[in-house]
Structure formats: C-alpha cells, structure tokens
C-alpha cells in the first residue's frame, strides 16, 4: 500500500550533516479548548519549545488511534492529544472516549516496543495558555531524554537483507 506522506524519520543518512536531535511532536488539539490555549499562548507572545506540529481536530474524541500510529510510523517522536477538562467537553463525552482509548493505546504501544511516554493526553482549557506552555516544554524534554524513535523504516522492512 503506497504511503501518502513522505517518511520524516531522522535516520542517519551518509553525507548529511547531523544536527543535534530535536524531537518531532505531533499535537492533536481540540478546537474548543487546547487549540485555543495554544492560540492564546501565541497571541500572548509566550515562548516555548518549537517542536510541535499542530493538527486541529473538533474534539479529542475525534482522535482515531490510527492517527497516532500513523504519526509514529511517519517519524514523530512523540504525540500529544489535548482536550477539554473532564465535564467540559463541547460534545459532552468526547474527552472521556479519548481517555479510554488513550489508556489502552498506551499499553499497546508498550507491547509494540514504543515507550508509552511518547504518547501523552492533557486537559488544557482555552484560558490555560501558561499550562499549555508548561506541558509543551515538559513533553519536549521528556521525549528529548528518550531520544529519537527509531522504528525500522518501511522501505527497509520491504527490501530486507537476509542472514541466518
């Protein structure tokens, strides 16, 4: 199955100067709370780690576990899901669904040899720009400490060496 997205993996390539490791974080932020917190952090000119690629979704409950796996498969070192605080979901229950999926997905990532810490769920309301900044900085530092996620790139699996 052809992959639509280019592979972003930071695998060592000969002849390319190696820059220090900068974690790539894909952040799925809910439209009603965490995205607005990120927006507020921006308009308030807060400074925080620039490692995040934001994907705005209508609700944290919209974050299909496929999105998370696809991000990891395409070179993300960490994935953040941001939603409204419990009880505050614009769609009543979406954030609880996100929480339940997240608990199971983390366990499954461990089984797949991926540090569960690379996936994080946070409740950040529209007014909590400061909290957004803290979470971002904290997550970037944790993922930096873990190092790059070195999944075997698909093309390597597909054209594989053989030895026994």
């Amino acid at each position: 199955m052809p992959d639509a997205m280019p592979n972003l993996s930071q695998a060592q390539r000969p002849g390319v100067e190696q820059l220090p490791f900068e974690p790539r974080i894909v952040a799925f932020l809910c439209n009603w709370c965490t995205y607005l917190a990120a927006d507020l952090a921006g308009t308030s000119r807060m400074k925080y780690a620039p490692n995040m690629r934001v994907v705005r979704v209508m609700c944290s409950g919209r974050v299909d576990p496929q999105f998370v796996l696809d991000a990891f498969a395409h070179g993300a070192d960490g994935v953040l899901i941001g939603g409204c605080h419990p009880g505050d979901c614009h769609y009543q229950e979406g954030n609880y669904k996100a929480l339940r999926r997240y608990r199971l997905l983390k366990r499954m990532l461990g089984q797949m040899g991926i540090a569960p810490e690379r996936l994080r769920l946070e409740w950040i309301s529209a007014s909590e720009a400061e909290r957004f900044r803290t979470v971002m900085n904290d997550m970037v530092e944790h993922v930096r400490a873990l190092g790059p996620l070195h999944l075997t790139p698909a093309e390597e699996i597909l054209a594989e060496e053989v030895t026994v």
Partner: protein
C-alpha cells in the same frame, strides 16, 4: 477445443487451511476443474518449480497464493509466480494481511530461532544447532532458504491484483472469486473480493446489539456460559465484528464464538487493530484512570487480540527493534 484458462495454487508461510478451502468446494470443485486447468498445486499435484519456470510469462490466468512471506524461497516463488501469471491473488489472511505467522513480528529473528530450535519444551537439540544458509558435510553442501527478520504480506513483496480474505476463505468466497475471474468482468485492481461492510451488518445476532453499551469487564469465551442468541459484545466478549469485513456469513458467531477478525478491515480502515481498539475502548465504563484501567486489564493481550491476523499490514508493521519498553515512565500518566 479452446484451451482452458490456467490456474495455479501455491503456499508460503501458512498452515494449509487455505488449501482445505479448495477441497471444501466439494462437488463445485468439479465445475472448477471443468472450467480451468490447474497447472501448479504442490499440495495436491506433482508439478515442480522447474515446470513453472519453463512456462511462458503471463501464461497462467490466475495464481492463488496463500501464506505470508518469511523466507527467501517464499519470496522467490512469489516473484516467479507473479511473472508467470496475469493475475496474482493474495489468498487468505496470511497472504492478505500477514495472518497468524505475522504475530512473529512481535519478536526478532534471533529470538524466534532460539525459541524454536533451543528453548521450546518439546525441542531436543543437544548440539544447539541452528539453521544456516550453507552447511557442508562429507564433501556436500546443503542449502537452506534465508529467514527474514520480518514477516511480510504478499503485497509488500510483489504487485498483487486481488485479495481473497479469511482464515481460511470460505468456499463460497473462493467460488465467487473464481467465477468473477472467469466472467472476464474484472473488479478494479486491488479490490478485496468480498462485501465491503462490517461483519455486524450480516450478523445473525444483529437485532440484539444494544444502542449503547457500557462494559466493566471483558470476558474470554471459557469464562462465561455464552448465550446463543444475544450479541456477543453485549455479553462482554471481545468480538472483532465491528472492525472486521463481512462476507464470511459469520460461521464463528454461528458456532457461538466471537469473531477474531480474520477477514481484515473494510476499505475505509487502514489499521484494523487501531480501529477495534477505538471501538472497544469507547465502550468501557468509568471516567477515572483507575476504573478504566481495571476494565481494560481484562484484555490481557491487546496486540495479540486486535492484530491477530494483521500485524504485518498494520501501520507499525512490527514491534520496534530498538526496545523501549523498559524506558522509565517518569510522567505520571
């Protein structure tokens, strides 16, 4: 008399169940034999690889290849049959998605060989011998196929025209696939030759599936006396029906066992395991971590349950070879 179209069957990393499907065509197998010439079928007919090599390229109308690709020999045969066939069909779960052998992608090559040749309780191997590519003895060299690190689906090795799902595909699905090919009205390339709806759509217990569900425990089939009429999910059984393609006519459900997902996902889903995780987890009751985790702990092996047949075709394809599972999780959640 016009020459009959040629058909071949081959097997790679598989159990032989897919071959059984051909036999299970029962009387219909006579119609098949009347309509086509079977030119290669190692499980039943005495043709060899050199017979296939001697054929002109593209001379076989369709090859039904079952089994995943693990060894260099399987890979060579896949390339050879691809060249000789107009149409190549991935036949059955292993070839389509990776299948049960694909669960070996949770381990690396060395631990698989260690386990099989040295550690398993039934193994007697006093010298600790492991398979090797070339072995010299008494002036002769014996060669064995190489063993890849990762199990792959057929389409990850060669171009595949169609997929026939199931572990094994039901005789009805095989018959429909054969008739479709012989009719000359071919579906678009890459199609899965089965209906494109979830199993729940055709489940005989569909009516008893509640509008909403809230589960505090997942039960395994041996832990509960299963009601023969009621939706299995509603009884707390881990049923893959919502994330699995239909068309099999639900033989497992009719046998009072939950669906294990062998037909793979529908065309709208790329990763079957992630999708059933999404579906099942959202049914869990509770709004606190501890309560949710208590319920989820009753699924002892998420990857083995959700990707039983589809790990090599999943987004991650295999367990990370750089094992991070012992990394300190300092962050509370």
């Amino acid at each position: 008399m016009a020459e009959k179209p040629k058909v071949a069957f081959y097997w790679c990393a598989s159990c032989g169940g897919c071959e059984e499907t051909v036999v299970d065509l029962a009387e219909a197998v006579l119609d098949v034999v009347a309509a086509v010439d079977i030119v290669f079928w190692p499980v039943a007919l005495d043709f060899k690889r050199k017979d296939v090599e001697a054929m002109a390229d593209g001379v076989i109308l369709a090859t039904f290849l079952n089994g995943a690709i693990r060894t260099t020999e399987q890979e060579e045969m896949a390339h050879l049959l691809r060249r000789k066939s107009k149409l190549l069909l991935a036949f059955g779960s292993c070839s389509h998605l990776g299948g049960i052998p694909g669960l070996a992608n949770l381990f690396d090559r060395d631990s698989v060989l260690q386990c099989v040749y040295r550690e398993s309780p039934s193994t007697v191997n006093e010298s600790g011998a492991l398979p090797c590519l070339h072995y010299k003895d008494d002036g002769h060299t014996v060669e064995l196929p190489g063993f890849h690190q990762t199990v792959r689906t057929l389409s990850q090795v060669v171009d595949v025209d169609y997929y026939v799902p199931g572990c094994p595909p039901t005789p009805r699905i095989l018959r429909t696939a054969l008739l479709t090919l012989l009719s000359g009205e071919l579906p678009p390339k890459g199609a899965v030759l089965a209906p494109d709806h979830a199993l729940c759509e055709e489940c005989p217990r569909k009516e008893s599936k509640p509008e909403s569900l809230s589960l505090s425990q997942f039960k395994r089939p041996h832990e509960v006396l299963i009601d023969e009429e009621k939706c299995l999910l509603a009884q707390g059984l881990l049923c893959m029906g919502p994330a699995t393609r239909g068309g099999c006519e639900a033989p497992c459900i009719q046998g009072n066992m939950p669906c294990t997902g062998c037909s793979g996902p529908t065309s709208r889903v790329r990763d079957q395991g992630a999708k059933i995780l999404s579906s099942l987890a959202s049914l869990v009751e509770g709004k606190e971590d501890a309560e949710i985790d208590r319920t989820l702990a009753t699924i002892p092996d998420p990857v083995g349950s959700f990707y039983r047949y589809s790990l090599p075709s999943s987004m991650l394809r295999r367990r990370n070879l750089v094992d991070e599972s012992n990394c300190q999780t300092t962050h509370a959640r």
